[in-house]
């Protein structure tokens, strides 16, 4: 938790920046190289050529405009989902509930759409869906916050459990009350055009990414430049000291977790109104867990989260090229994702930090 509370290195003399940064960079490059090599060995075991696989991934993922757009689309909910982990983390809270909060965001947005109806003014409809999604996400995280404040239940446990309740709520709704028709695939009715997020210029990228980038800046400013951001980091560092200093720790815990939930709710709304247009049983699948890991990869810092979300989205998109070029299942890309995570989690922190 050292990285969250304070960055002791930042207060030291900044002079030999390059010489300090170089070993860190080398460690990152080294661990990532190992991850790629191990994955190559696995591909060889499966009789696929790693060279073909990697060049295939490179060409069809990064050299094609459509793939690049797809990466941006997929990184949007990850950015927001990771911010939903980062804000509570600043207050010393572990929010493993992004998965459920994203689902509830989608459910909230869909509920608003069904309630307000397609006749409403287009702008009003989108705003209603966004607000409803934020409230739904915040309430879902608020349950965990309330359980912590009233009964002392740890939020890492309760948010994790609430993920499964959220999934069951989603399935309940799309299998019965909100089901489009009793025959065929269980799904809600498709959004009307006015309820879909518009695209940026002439691309297939929905405007959600703009909102995500703006919110990353807002979260950065709120955490580092406001009294509230300072207070939650004090409460997260030492709750007892914060209490003695007269801070309302309970309110800070509640607000940090609920704001996290609201951010995840927005992620759900964007995934729903910008990508999927219907709630299906697979809605938001693993977005929350991926976001949680993206946040760890970025060490809970808002701007690095943008990079981590891009990396995860790129890996996810390249899974499809892997299937086409190397003939192995798309989900195999999870192996590479996991190797990168293991490498970074286990082998990029300095020895001293690892021992702490």
């Amino acid at each position: 938790m050292t990285a969250v509370v304070a960055d002791p290195e930042a207060e030291q003399t900044p002079a030999p920046l390059l010489s300090r940064a170089l070993p860190v960079v080398m460690r990152w490059v080294g661990t990532l190289a190992v991850a790629l090599v191990v994955f190559s060995v696995l591909l060889l075991l499966k009789g696929a050529s790693p060279v073909t696989a990697y060049t295939g991934i490179w060409e069809s993922t990064f050299l094609r405009s459509r793939s690049l757009q797809e990466i941006v689309v997929q990184m949007t909910p990850l950015v927001l989902g990771a911010l939903a982990v980062a804000v509570p983390a600043r207050a010393g809270l572990t929010n493993v509930g992004g998965e459920g909060q994203i689902i509830m965001g989608g459910v909230g947005a869909c509920g608003a759409f069904l309630f307000v109806g397609e006749t409403a003014a287009p702008g009003l409809l989108l705003v209603a869906m966004l607000v409803s999604a934020m409230v739904a996400g915040a309430v879902w995280a608020g349950i965990a916050a309330a359980m912590r404040l009233v009964a002392g239940v740890n939020e890492a446990i309760s948010t994790l459990l609430l993920n499964f309740v959220a999934l069951d709520v989603l399935l309940f709704l799309i299998y019965q009350p909100w089901r489009e028709s009793p025959v065929g695939q269980p799904a809600t009715v498709e959004l009307v055009d006015a309820a879909k997020l518009p695209f940026v210029a002439a691309t297939r990228i929905n405007v959600g990414i703009v909102l995500a980038l703006v919110l990353a800046v807002v979260v950065y400013l709120a955490l580092s430049r406001t009294r509230w951001g300072y207070k939650i980091s004090v409460a997260g560092g030492n709750a007892e000291a914060a209490r003695r200093a007269g801070l309302n720790v309970r309110l800070l815990v509640l607000s940090a977790l609920m704001i996290g939930g609201a951010l995840a709710g927005i992620a759900g709304m964007i995934q729903f109104a910008g990508v999927e247009y219907k709630l299906r049983p697979s809605f938001g699948y693993q977005l929350g867990y991926t976001s949680f890991l993206a946040c760890w990869l970025a060490r809970h810092q808002p701007f690095p989260i943008l990079v981590a979300a891009f990396v995860f989205a790129a890996l996810s998109v390249s899974g499809d090229s892997l299937q086409l070029d190397a003939g192995v299942p798309a989900a195999s890309i999870h192996v590479l994702t996991a190797f990168i995570l293991i490498a970074v989690l286990g082998f990029t922190a300095s020895r001293r930090k690892a021992a702490a």
């Binding site: 938790m1 572990t94 009964a151 299998y175 890991l293 192996v335 996991a338 995570l341 989690l345």
Partner: protein
């Protein structure tokens, strides 16, 4: 009457994989390490058992392979969190993704392949008992082995020196260091043992319960096991009861639907989780005080000692 028997019997057979994984997670958490990768250990255990079963035709070799695979994955988790100081939540989830990827990469050829799984073996005499017979004694051998696992783990944890060392690693790691034991080695051992049991749970799922392999077949049971350990406040006996209780909740929906009752399955699926949340809220701070002290430090984001 037959509905009750169906649900209870289904609860026992469906709950067994959760029970194996839950008991394993209990061992791990008693030593101070929470493993969200339990779901992953079950997945590689399921594929390992299924693949070995297909290749050798012997389901017991399959169980061995599944247990090995589950243990190996947990060993990585143990190494990362104990030796490298990685976040327990992040490491566990990373290993879940590793398991999803590996089983998708190596499992594709086994989808739809027939396997020699475990057959039902009715226990002589006992299976003729009314109600208890069909509920408890008309199942597969791997499920019966599960009846022995809980008492065995309880004895090891609470009546042997190894168990004492493991529990001390979860309660007062410093005192182990003082007496010259390696907290690291003990914790890694406990996490690995937990993974072995989760792998056996996966094996039961693939070669006894479903007799099939498909991608992501564990479908959240590993997470249910993690919830169950907390629900059971770290007692192996309550894990046993809870696993069958959760199994019954899952079995109730199909049993009712088979009798043409209109029931939405997903409300019943939510029962284990809502129940756990309710228990946590009612027990309140007592749950946390019942938790191993070192585990509490993990939850509270405090650096572990030892």
């Amino acid at each position: 009457m037959s509905l009750v028997v169906d649900v209870l019997s289904g609860g026992v057979s469906g709950g067994t994989s959760i029970m194996y994984a839950g008991v394993g997670e209990t061992v791990s958490e008693r030593a101070g390490v929470i493993n969200l990768g339990t779901e992953g250990s079950m997945l590689v255990g399921a594929l390992g058992a299924y693949a070995a079963g297909v290749e050798t035709g012997n389901p017991w070799i399959g169980v061995l392979a599944g247990a090995t695979a589950g243990g190996a994955l947990a060993l990585v988790h143990g190494y990362l969190v104990v030796r490298r100081g990685a976040s327990q939540f992040a490491s566990g989830l990373s290993l879940l993704f590793l398991a999803l990827g590996l089983t998708s990469l190596f499992g594709a050829p086994y989808v739809g392949q027939p396997v020699v799984g475990f057959d039902t073996w009715e226990v002589p005499l006992l299976s003729d008992l009314p109600v208890l017979g069909p509920v408890l004694f008309q199942h597969d051998p791997l499920l019966y082995l599960g009846y022995l696992v809980v008492p065995l783990v309880w004895v090891v944890l609470f009546k042997t020196r190894v168990g004492l060392l493991g529990r001390t690693a979860g309660e007062r790691a410093d005192s182990l260091t003082v007496h010259g034991y390696s907290v690291h080695a003990i914790r890694i051992g406990a996490v690995t043992a937990g993974g072995v049991l989760a792998g056996m749970g996966g094996a039961h799922l693939a070669t006894a319960y479903a007799n099939a392999w498909f991608e992501n077949m564990v479908a959240g049971r590993g997470f249910i096991a993690v919830a169950l350990v907390i629900f059971a406040t770290w007692s192996p006996w309550r894990v046993l009861g809870g696993a069958y209780l959760f199994g019954c909740a899952i079995a109730l929906g199909p049993a009712l639907q088979a009798r043409a009752f209109e029931i939405n399955q997903f409300l019943l699926d939510a029962v284990p989780f809502v129940l756990t949340l309710a228990v946590l809220t009612i027990l309140g701070k007592r749950t946390l005080s019942a938790s191993p002290a070192e585990l509490k430090r993990v939850f509270e984001n405090a650096p572990p000692s030892g």
